[in-house]
Amino acid sequence: MELKVDKLTKKYSRGEKEFFAVDNISFSLDKGEFVAVIGPSGCGKSTLFSMIAGLVKPDSGTVEMNGESLLKLSKDEFSHLRNTKIGYILQGQNLMQNFTVLENICLPLYLGKDRNTDRAYELIETLGLKELMNSYPASLSGGEQRRVSIARSLAHNPELIIADEPTSNLDPENAKLITEVFMKECKDGKSVLMSSHNLELVANTDRQLKILNGKLIN
């Protein structure tokens, strides 16, 4: 999978003031590459990720995946893309409280046409969730919940993984485990775009992109 982001821009207004959440950002991501996006809170990392995943419409710029422009896709086509080729990990706790760990992990499969659960069970083993499979999120620790959330975004075997601060507020052991999972995914040919404040973990990535006030700083 190759991702190409070109002059991506998003402007928001706060009261009467307008500001650039993402200002003319361009970069590319190759197949099997693990790239970290770093920068202070509110610098535009989440907006950038949301635009790549089709959750926010940019004001200008282009996003291409394997040479195909994503911004031409309809809402439903983008949904299909997220359900097949993109694994998106949202910031914070995002598990569905009414569903067990296993059901949470299988959610992308429930929503799409791919009904093969083999990879979901594989991820449950890899992320050490086997004993918790039938538990509900309320009974899990923060680290366990985050591991479930990551397993869920990988269950449909996406080509591009976008992880918005997947290791925030995690103990070093859990943070390390998650980074290792992403590194393994990259070895398997997937591309990972991850934002993080943890510089120790970021050091394990292939490349770092630094954003400040919506702008990419080299």
Binding site: G54, M96, F99, L102, C106, Y110, R115, T117
Partner: protein, 405 residues
């Protein structure tokens, strides 16, 4: 590890949302239940009254009914509800009535109420008829393969507690029961029928004379004259003529006219019930809209998560509508089951409290009512969910993801 678990569908997701949010779902189901059960019960009562009235009018088989003045209510209650009543007038008035143009057949009837006393087996409306001229009761006998009844014998309506071959006691006299009529679901089901000459046995008995009327002339009394008009005869003109021309103390009614008061009351009741059902429909839908709006608002982030995992907004709308369908269906089914069971168990209490001949619990009439109730229950729930569903369907994905942050 067992990898062969059946995967959940969109329906399964909606079902889980209902089953795991018990309080919210319970409140919504309760609103649908109140709406559906009030609709079911009021429709059941009105349908039963309408059908009872139609059946009574159909069963009478006469075009005109002539009754002593001021006794039309007794006659009406006796025919519609099977309420007991004794009233009579002079038989000689029949000759005057017979002069009326347009009469094809006419026959007298005598109404005697048995008493709730030791002398009588049970309080029942006794109707005596004249086998020579009768065109009302005789056809019913044919329905039970009986050509005639003899002097001293009685036949009983389907609701009378007496079996064929047993006897039934009126004013200390035992009468053999020789037939039981088919169930008609009218007041006639609670009446006992005998010939005029048999009724004389009662009228001449010491018990009747001491308890009811000692001055009665058994050969010269009738309670009503049932008239069948010729084809094309103007029934209203005939009724007016009988009532006003002959200067005799009787009043003639067309059969429909006899029950017009009940029919008018029924129309009022139908309008009143429609208003009540409409109000409860609006209140239930408004309450459901509020609950849907509040809970769907709280669940925006949940829908945002589903979008991030690849759900289309159509799927989100489908989840909300399916939840509404399930709430409507559960509320509707509960309302139908509880209302139906209550109407079966409290059948007698309801019919006597509301003065209707019977509750129409026949499957052929209940099935359309059940379907109508379920349809309105589900429809109101879907209607209430539409605003929230459309809002979620049109929202920007990022707005949903940020939802309750």
């Amino acid at each position: 590890m067992n990898n062969n678990r059946k995967l959940m569908s969109i329906f399964g997701i909606a079902k889980r949302n209902i089953s795991n949010r018990k309080i919210r779902s319970g409140i919504m189901i309760a609103f649908v239940f109140i709406l559906a059960s009030s609709l079911y019960i009021s429709s059941l009562l009105i349908n039963s009254m309408n059908l009872g009235l139609e059946k009574t009018i159909g069963r009478i088989g006469a075009d005109l009914i002539v009754v002593p003045q001021e006794y039309e209510n007794n006659m009406r209650s006796s025919l519609f509800l099977g309420e007991c009543s004794t009233f009579y007038t002079d038989r000689s008035y029949m000759d005057k009535v017979a002069e009326t143009e347009g009469i094809q057949q006419m026959t007298p009837q005598l109404y005697i109420a048995s008493l709730e006393a030791e002398c009588c087996g049970l309080p029942t409306q006794i109707i005596a008829f004249d086998p020579e001229t009768d065109f009302i009761v005789t056809p019913w006998l044919q329905d039970i393969n009986k050509k005639e009844i003899n002097y001293g014998e009685v036949i009983v309506g389907n609701g009378v507690v007496a079996d064929v071959g047993s006897t039934i006691k009126f004013f200390d006299i035992d009468f053999p029961v020789v037939g039981k009529l088919e169930n008609t679901q009218t007041g006639y089901d609670y009446c006992v029928f005998m010939r005029f000459d048999t009724s004389k046995i009662i009228l001449e008995s010491e018990r009747f004379k001491s308890l009811v009327d000692s001055t009665i002339d058994p050969d010269n009394v009738i309670s009503a004259i049932m008239i069948k008009a010729k084809n094309g005869a103007n029934l209203n003109t005939m009724a007016s003529r009988i009532t006003y021309t002959y200067k005799i103390p009787v009043k003639a009614f067309t059969t429909n006219g006899m029950f017009s008061a009940i029919s008018d009351n029924l129309d009022n009741l139908t309008s009143f019930s429609s208003i009540l059902v409409t109000i409860s429909f609006i209140l239930a839908v408004l309450a459901l809209i509020c609950i849907f709006t509040i809970t769907i608002n709280e669940r925006q982030h949940e829908f945002g998560v589903l979008i991030s995992l690849g759900a289309t907004q159509k799927q989100l709308v489908l989840i909300i509508v399916l939840e509404a369908v399930m709430i409507g269906l559960i509320g509707g089914v509960l309302a139908v089951i509880i209302s139906a069971v209550a109407s079966f168990i409290f059948n007698n209490a309801i019919t006597s409290a509301l003065e209707i001949p019977y509750l129409d619990n026949s499957p052929s009439d209940l099935i359309p009512l059940i379907l109508k109730t379920l349809l309105i229950a589900i429809g109101s729930s879907i209607l209430a969910s539409l605003y929230s569903a459309i809002r979620i369907g049109r929202a920007e994905p990022i707005t949903l993801i940020k939802g309750d942050e």
